[in-house]
Point group: C2
Chain length 322, copies 2
């Protein structure tokens, strides 16, 4: 398949590209290295079926050129400003990096005749729902972060483009995706800070925030499974696991994995139920629809956290990430 991949140097793409190349896809990747990392791309750059283009997706002309050259059968649009707290400090951050970028991708698809899109949305769209675990048909959709507001805006742009221009789309509302090659996130953050200063760890909130952590391989297999098996024009699925892991559990596991003496680490909490404004402290996503489709994650949240911490610690220690 011919594939356009946005966010090509990001966390998800770094784990996705080897799979796409292994099964024979021709991959046209785009990144501006805002969150994505040059070093993560290096594994793929030498591959004859991987083509990389460095520019900001807010720029329409180079995007049109990529689509003209790629003539993609499928677009993996996984570029995102996935640092939610950022969007509260800079109120146009997600509007530009999420909504306008997604519009540009859809418009490039429309103009070039590309028809199929996979999109990484987020369980954050539900805001603070009154129904937990939260199913896909929960409403009204009233998010509490600008990040999530932008994800909804992207979903609805996709839905409208699909209906007006005969496209098809697969929208996945993610739990917290974790695994090797992180660019940010709580595990990356805790490991990095404890390696720099093993004597203390500051935790935002009271540590009871709990979310379903999904291993990145499960996430990617889930998206591929959904793409193959869900056959509506617009397919919208929660992609998560049934259990949750708390921030305190993650902190303790990171301390243990690093081999630190727990009594010598001063763990202190900033307090309050959420890590930051716009943070949804308790997330449970109903995955009935994905499992009814036949998909099952291999790892629970607890297992995904355990494995990821080991991998991220190893990657920090070997210098793969920094």
């Amino acid at each position: 398949m011919r594939v356009v991949l946005t966010g090509a140097a990001g966390f998800i793409a770094t784990n996705l590209i080897p799979r796409l190349l292994a099964r024979g896809d021709e991959v046209f990747g785009v990144d501006n290295f805002f969150l994505g990392r040059r070093s993560y791309l290096e594994r793929s750059l030498a591959h004859p079926r991987f083509h990389f283009f460095e520019f900001d997706l807010l720029k329409v002309e180079p995007l049109a050129e990529v689509f003209a050259e790629a003539k993609p059968d499928l677009v993996w649009h996984v570029a995102a400003n996935s640092d939610i707290s950022y969007g509260t400090a800079y109120t146009d951050f997600d509007l530009k990096g999420g909504t306008l970028v997604t519009y540009n991708v859809l418009e490039a698809m429309r103009r070039s005749g590309a028809k199929q899109l996979i999109f990484s949305s987020s369980g954050a769209v539900y805001g603070e729902p009154t129904v937990m675990p939260t199913p896909e048909n929960y409403g009204p959709i009233l998010p509490i972060s600008l990040y999530a507001a932008s994800k909804v805006a992207c979903e609805t742009l996709i839905s409208a483009f699909v209906h007006n221009y005969d496209m098809r789309a697969w929208i996945f509302r993610f739990g917290n995706i974790i695994g090797p090659y992180p660019t940010h996130g709580v595990i990356y953050d805790f490991v990095k800070r404890l390696l720099e200063d093993p004597s203390q760890l500051k935790i935002l909130g009271d540590g009871t925030q709990a979310k379903p952590y999904v291993y990145v391989e499960d996430c990617i297999e889930g998206m591929e499974f959904g793409f193959t098996n869900a056959r509506d024009a617009v397919n919208c699925y929660n992609l998560a696991v049934p259990d949750q892991t708390s921030v305190t559990e993650i902190a303790e596991a990171v301390i243990a994995e690093l081999g630190l003496d727990r009594r010598k680490v001063d763990v202190h909490y900033t307090g309050g139920s959420r890590g930051w404004r716009g943070d949804v402290p308790q997330v449970q996503l109903d995955t009935t629809r994905m499992t009814a489709l036949g998909w099952k994650p291999r790892l629970s949240s607890a297992d995904a956290v355990r494995r990821t911490i080991a991998e991220v610690v190893a990657q920090f220690r070997s210098g793969v990430i920094s």
Copy 2:
């Protein structure tokens, strides 16, 4: 109350301004005359408590100046590119005129400390729902027009701003609002075309498209009622009537009101179930929440259509509208 009013020369504002002024509000109106009309403003321009500013809401600086001067207690954000079919021809039309404009309004509120917003959303957000009449908690929200996609994007921006910057908002998902001083819409369109050429009327679709038509006074009273009585941080309500009127019924009523001989009017249909791509042919909005709050519309859809046709025909004949 000090009020900022967007879309001040548009259909809803033209009917709203006299009410606001009559009860003592200081009104700061903004319009760029894209859909709004200078002639509609004339009634209000001479009033000492009405202040008008002409610019495009995509421009941030004049908007900031209006908010600095107005220091509004309440923002009525009813500016909209309410011509749905336009958004299919120009794919960035609603993104700019809806989403980005609403972001600008919210950002002006945040920077100036304004805290309360009334927003005119649309029942079109539900796309083609499987539940009819459709309640506010229907999901997933997968609209079929770029107009509706933008309305959802606006709703979610509002929700995120409310949660992050301690605002409050009242979001109303409208049925088709009709009444005097129209700028567009099926009644305006049919009256105008039959006055120009009484021998024929072309109808988009098969004429069976049926929607709840809400008289503009009911709509305005409903928004005011909701603002007074709904006390959540984000309040999201369908604002409609229980019955529907079909396009064919409207066409027949316009022909009758104009006193035309029905046998001499060649009414022909373009065919198909919808008027245009992105048109939702059958709309029924569940108004249980608004009625539970204590609100009741005075006019049914049938009565609203009847009264509006009489008023619009009279306004065309007297030269108030053209």
